[in-house]
Amino acid sequence: MSGFMGHEPNGRPGWPKTAREWLFTVDHKVIGVWYLIGSLASFAVAGLAATLMRIELGSVGPDITSDGNIYNLWLTMHGAVMILGFQIPALLGFVANYAVPIMVGAKDMAFPRVNAFSVWLLWSGILIALANLVIPDHFNGMWTGYPPYSTSDAAGNTALYTMVVVVLGMSSVFGAVNLACTVAFMRCKGMGWFQMPLTVWTVFTANIIQLIFVPVLAASVILLSLDKYLGFGFYNPETGGDVLLYQNLFWFYSHPAVYVILLPFMGIMFEIFSVSAKNMVFSYKSAVYAILAFIPAGGDVWVHHAFVAGLPDWLRVLMSFTTLLISLPFGLLMLSLVGTLYKGAIRYSGPMMWALGAWMILIFGALTGIPNALSAIDYGISDSYVIMSHFHYVMAVSGSMATFAGIFYWFPKLTGRICNETMTKLSAIGFFIGMNTVMGPLYFAGIAGMPRRYMDYQQFADNAVIVGAQHWSTIGLYITFLSVLLMVVTWIHGMLKGEKSSQNPWGSQSLEWTSTALIAGQGNFPTPVEVAEDWHPYRYIDNPKPTFQPAPASAGH
């Protein structure tokens, strides 16, 4: 296999060599790496903010700051950067750009230059967001930015918030159009819609969701700045505006956004489960339909974030029901994941450990969404640590574990080397234990009444549950911190000193491992790939091999 990138020695076409090739690249893989770097940097920054917050919350009373605005700055940065800077770019940037085009057998994205434009918009957005740490009037209105607080002077630089969201939103929209065209038009010859890996399906669907809903978010935050700086009155009750309008618009996007995050990371889990068990994904077609079902199912439930916001009662009970309906497609996906293990031949590789951890967290984390969805129950737990724990379990813990599983999984393609297996597993176990210790106790603190976004909890100083939970949670943070550090070390070690990987280290059937060099060069495939009608990315028995169309005379100029 190694010879087939001909002119490159030992199967390593390698990465671009010059700074110009890196910076001015229009290649989807290099752009994918830029996305990855951006998102990991965001994770580090937002994770350090979480570290500071947890240290502050470890005990009652001020620990490292007594200034509410400083804590709120950390929290705003943590929430916004984790979601907009880490999770979405890692999944819809890195996975979508790096893996998807190769998985569908395309030579690049449909619009390579637009792709480069998107990644630099992402970097612009991250740079603006980081500026929030140094400007004097930092924005502290939380990632949700509710008016009228966010349009008041106390919130700081609202324009920065608007700009970050708009710039990242533009980046997402262009990226989404690009990816949708790639998947729709550039699949290799013979690859039908039902022969696409589920990673492709999930990323594709997530991008459709982005296309439909991001604009609404952009509009809602632009109106914030118009209100604050140009004297418009959309959200100002005094001139006939309405503060609740913002919440409706915001959640109309931001609920679907959680599925934008969920779907791709479940796609990664499907990939790894199937490869590790060497088993066809259970009920593949129903999984595809379940994924698609998230588009309508996610679009009509936003009010569940505003159950206690004074909306009419009929709307609450209605959206309570529509929210519950999401358990159907979600349950089917979980069923497919478990079913993939049935009669499998499971190998517990490093990425599989991360993915399994993600699965275990996901089942319990997603189930904690159900009490929130029951409007009457939500009256008691809304905006408490119950909610906080819920979304960290699904999005932060499960989501990060699956994302990191993906990074470990595609690591050989990125670097040509494999990460040390023991270190990979150790960091997975550490992260699993650490984050459970952080978020588990906080669920009970939430039941005991602990509200979100509190820099201190003086009023609960004699509530043993809350004080104890906060204490243990901070201890959990230290475990998490160390395991994240270990993970970073594992990556660096793997990149420099790791064992050389073979062409297809996990034994996958998908095109990115079987039909191109380990580190593919520009254009990805030697000549256009073609798959047979009964080829399937998840079939491990008698799967016909992808073939290559005869090379046109001009190949490899």
């Binding site: 509410g68 609740l244 068990a277 159907l328 159900i370 009490p371 029951l374 129950i377 008691g380 509200p451």
Partner: protein
């Protein structure tokens, strides 16, 4: 042909599955019971539903988890080039694996929904004889207006055994009024009046906190609810009324000065 049409009938019947718990529940509850919920307070009702929901979810979670764990152990790879051997689903099996789980999920959803709907009805229907308290939130204060000229900051006293409804609005940003132990939260915002009600049945204090982010001192915006015996409450109220009267008399006397200072203060706040 025969087998096929039979299986469609089976699948069709399964479609009715979700109705079962709903119907069970509907029959179980007669309207008279529903009306006063057997004397159940909203908070006790909430606890009950909460525990049922938790039990339900734990059962689902444990089933999924146990099956997965079993597969994980049972199907560990042993040979080097061993591959998975999951059976290929027939078309009908595929439909079955969608319809049956979906109906089960839907059934459970409806079951939970009906319970919560009932709870919702109780929590969102105020008893006729409830006492009204006007709540005004501001950064960072809770003001309780008893409607008779008495008002307090950060502290609310109510007599035991009498439902209380809060009619709430905000002077500045969005806040959220949460009374610990009563499982009620409702946002408070400018330009609208929102409400929630509680049924205090136990003497003692509970914490009132703000649950919507409202700036630097969001976490310090807490007060307490004090539930008192009717007699104690009356005594307190008489005293408070007298105080309020004295104060308003004082205010009338110094009306001219008062106006000036008040407008000054307002300007200062806005600037």
């Amino acid at each position: 042909m025969k087998i096929k049409s039979l299986s469609y009938k089976v699948l069709g019947t399964l479609l009715a599955l979700p109705l079962i718990p709903t119907l069970v529940y509907a029959f179980e509850m007669d309207t008279a019971v529903r009306k006063n919920y057997n004397g159940l307070t909203p908070q006790a009702h909430w606890d009950e539903v909460w525990h049922e929901v938790m039990l339900d979810l734990i059962v689902i979670g444990v089933i999924y988890f146990a099956v997965a764990l079993f597969f994980m152990i049972r199907y560990k790879r042993t040979g080097h080039d061993q591959v998975g051997k999951s059976p290929k689903l027939t078309g009908q099996a595929m439909i079955g694996w969608v319809v049956i789980p979906c109906m089960l999920f839907l059934g459970d959803d409806l079951f939970l929904y009906v319970k919560a709907f009932d709870l919702h009805n109780q929590m969102r229907n105020v008893p006729a004889h409830a006492q009204t308290i006007k709540v005004t939130a501001s950064m960072w204060n809770w003001n309780y207006d008893y409607g008779n000229g008495v008002d307090t900051d950060m502290e609310l006293r109510v007599p035991v055994g009498k439902p209380v409804i809060f009619r709430m609005t905000s002077d500045d940003v969005v806040h959220s009024h949460y009374v610990d132990g009563y499982h009620v939260t409702e946002d408070v915002m400018p330009g609208r009046v929102t409400w929630e009600w509680i049924m205090p049945v136990k003497l003692g204090e509970s914490v009132i906190t703000c649950r919507e982010y409202c700036g630097a001192n969001h976490s310090k915006m807490y007060g307490k609810l004090i539930v008192m015996k009717q007699a104690d409450y009356d005594a307190w109220m008489t005293e408070a009324l007298a105080d309020a009267k004295a104060e308003s008399a004082h205010r009338v006397a110094s009306a001219a000065i008062g106006k000036v200072t008040a407008s000054k203060i307002n300007e200062g706040q806005e600037g």
